[in-house]
């Protein structure tokens, strides 16, 4: 990039990390934020499940979304992946407005997610699960598949190689032939992450990735999330109740309560924030 254009971008993006929109790590100042949600909200019959949600996530940021049970965290994920259509506000992914898009289009734009309650294709093998993630990466048509044209063999081989490569990220390549539903819990969670990565995302949404894991597994997961970010140069946003994980790896944390953002900041800022403490532990009795 020429010096001139760098300068210009600096001027442009200086306005982006405005305090009301969250914190972006310094290295991401000069690239378009991967996600920009403005005044996002959804109503279910008068109940505002999410209201005035503003957030910017940098290109390679690891962001955390925390909050007490029922705060609307998964609803935010469902809004970002277009499972629900927002009733208010806009979502920009890499600078593109996602208004009117459906889940499939949102995924093609680069948003991939895992689920709180694991949603693997349980009757299929581990490798086939990853291959479904690769669905839009390695393509060939229905007739090529039925009549086994040369393209079929070529693309199947590519899919196979890519699937194994992705599985090797979590040392799961030996399990490629096993039935996904028969895997132990931790491996199922890891497989969900691999499957989401296979869709070639620019923003990976992880819904409680450490749920049900022991401290040892959680630590490994933390290392893996950082490894994924570094290797694929993508942003990660995660919902998690395990505070060690959130405070350990998240560069920016956003706290949600009753559908509204009550605090944004780095781990230290959040830990010291009185509103957050109140939301989690309740108000101190006066007197």
């Amino acid at each position: 990039m020429s010096e001139n254009s760098t300068k210009k971008r600096m001027l442009d993006t200086k306005m982006v990390p405005a305090p009301s929109h969250g914190i972006i790590p310094e290295r991401d100042y000069y690239s378009t934020p991967v996600l920009e949600a403005r005044h996002l909200g959804i109503e279910f019959g008068g109940l505002k499940a999410v209201d005035d949600f503003n957030l910017i996530i940098g290109k390679t940021e690891i962001a955390g979304l925390i909050g007490p049970n029922g705060a609307g965290k998964t609803t935010v994920f469902n809004l970002l992946t277009k499972v629900y259509q927002p009733t208010m506000g806009t979502i920009m992914v890499n600078g593109k407005d996602t208004a009117g898009m459906n889940t499939v289009q949102a995924n093609k734009l680069g948003i991939a997610r895992t689920f709180q309650n694991i949603r693997l294709f349980g009757n299929m093998t581990v490798e086939d699960n990853v291959r479904i993630g690769l669905h839009n990466q390695v393509k060939y048509g229905m007739f090529t598949g039925i009549f086994r044209m040369p393209a079929y063999w070529k693309q199947e081989k590519r899919q196979h190689e890519q699937a194994l490569e992705l599985l090797s990220l979590f040392d799961m390549q030996d399990l490629a032939g096993a039935r996904a539903g028969s895997l132990p819990y931790g491996a199922q969670r890891r497989l969900e992450i691999v499957r989401a990565l296979a869709t070639h995302p620019c923003l990976l949404l992880l819904d409680e990735p450490a749920a049900g894991m022991n401290p040892h597994e959680t630590e490994e997961l933390m290392r893996n999330i950082i490894k994924i970010r570094d290797q694929f140069q993508i942003a990660v946003m995660l919902i998690e109740h395990d505070m060690n994980l959130v405070m350990g790896i998240c560069e920016g944390i956003c706290v949600l309560n009753y559908g509204r953002i009550i605090a944004k900041g780095t781990a230290d800022e959040i830990q010291a924030n009185p509103t957050v403490i109140e939301a989690y532990l309740g108000k101190k009795k006066e007197g």
Binding site: V83, V104, F115, R119, F121, I132, I146, T199
Partner: protein
């Protein structure tokens, strides 16, 4: 190149079908097959194709369709019309070529019907989808009940609800097809089974097939992975309709006259029974169930009046037996001998 497991499985499947065909063919040639059973050979082929194609919708794509006989009906009628037209207009004497072309036409028209029906139906889910497919199956049958086709020289004439059509009548409303040459032959029926197996098995082991199964296993996750659910449900539905249409054409050309009332709701249910009894999603189960249950009423002739009762009892017994955990595990051990390596791997992973 090392062959994949699925490829080997496919080759074994084709092998078994070919062997079964050779046995049947030699039995026919040596005259050791009874007349009634010989007459059953083409309907068996037809019902096997019907069951396998319905299994693509019910088992692989996971939608309960109750209107499969409708597509068979479209295939039977269009096959009969095309075969008569080919004879009259093009003077095509070659019976096999005429049969194959009629089957292709039946498949294409049933496929078009599948697309038209699929557009509204696949917006629905579960029970609603089942009810609407049932309605569409009946609508197709009732529409064909009112259609009159005739050949005036090379011209094909159509009339709705009035039997005044010029020339020789091919489809005579509620009376069904008339004056059709019985050109269906067992080898072509057998080829159709092979073709169906080829299409369905190759589809399952391809990118599209995996997408179809993913939408069945978990719709929400499939959408989140960027799979266009409606497109792949439609793909399974239309492929199944095309195969059913081809089977229908074969069926229609096996009789000199076939009425639309032959393709009632009962026929859809009969095919569904084959699929359920053979195991939903199990292609081989469908083939075996379709073949046995088509022959069974003939074999039960000894019970004369109690034939259908015996048929029902056999169905219930098979149902009970296949759901019995002991018998299931016995079959599991017989068929899928689990590899010790895979077991050890699974054990290692759960540490």
């Amino acid at each position: 190149m090392k062959l994949k497991k699925s490829t080997i499985n496919n080759i074994i499947s084709y092998g078994i079908v070919i062997v079964a065909f050779i046995i049947c063919q030699s039995m026919i040639a040596s005259g050791s097959m009874t007349r009634s059973l010989k007459g059953q050979m083409i309907p068996i082929c037809v019902y096997i194709v019907m069951a396998v194609s319905l299994n693509l919708v019910v088992g692989i794509s996971g939608e309960l369709s109750l209107g499969h006989a409708g597509f068979m009906c479209v295939g039977a009628f269009s096959g009969a019309i095309v075969s008569s037209w080919l004879l009259a207009a093009l003077n095509m004497e070659n019976e096999i070529l005429r049969l194959v072309l009629s089957m292709l036409a039946g498949g294409v028209l049933a496929g078009i019907a599948g697309v038209l029906i699929g557009i509204p139906v696949l917006r629905l889910r579960g029970d609603y989808l089942a009810i609407v497919t049932l309605a569409f199956g009946e609508i197709i049958r009732n529409v064909l009940n009112c259609l009159y086709f005739s050949l005036d020289g090379k011209r094909l004439c159509v009339a709705f609800n009035s039997p005044n059509v010029p020339g020789t009548v091919v489809v005579n409303g509620p009376a069904g097809t008339a004056g059709i040459q019985k050109i269906a032959s067992f080898p072509v029926g057998f080829a159709l089974i092979l073709f169906t197996l080829f299409v369905v098995m190759n589809l399952i082991n391809s990118r599209s097939g995996r997408a179809i199964m993913a939408t069945r296993d978990n719709r929400i996750a499939a959408e989140a992975m960027g799979i266009n659910v409606t497109k792949y449900k439609m793909m399974a539905f239309v492929t199944s309709a095309v195969l059913a249409g081809m089977a229908g054409a074969l069926y229609g050309l096996n009789f000199s006259t076939v009425a639309a009332s032959k393709f009632k709701f009962d026929t859809s249910i009969l095919v569904l029974v084959f699929v359920v009894l053979g195991g939903i999603g199990n292609i081989w189960g469908s083939i075996i169930a379709a073949a046995l249950l088509t022959v069974l009423p003939e074999l039960l002739r000894a019970f004369s009046d109690y034939r259908m009762l015996a048929y029902a009892i056999v169905l219930i017994l098979v149902m009970l037996a296949t759901n019995n955990p002991f018998i299931r595990s016995l079959f599991d051990r017989l068929i899928h001998r689990r590899k010790p390596a895979a077991q050890a791997q699974r054990g290692g992973a759960s540490e």
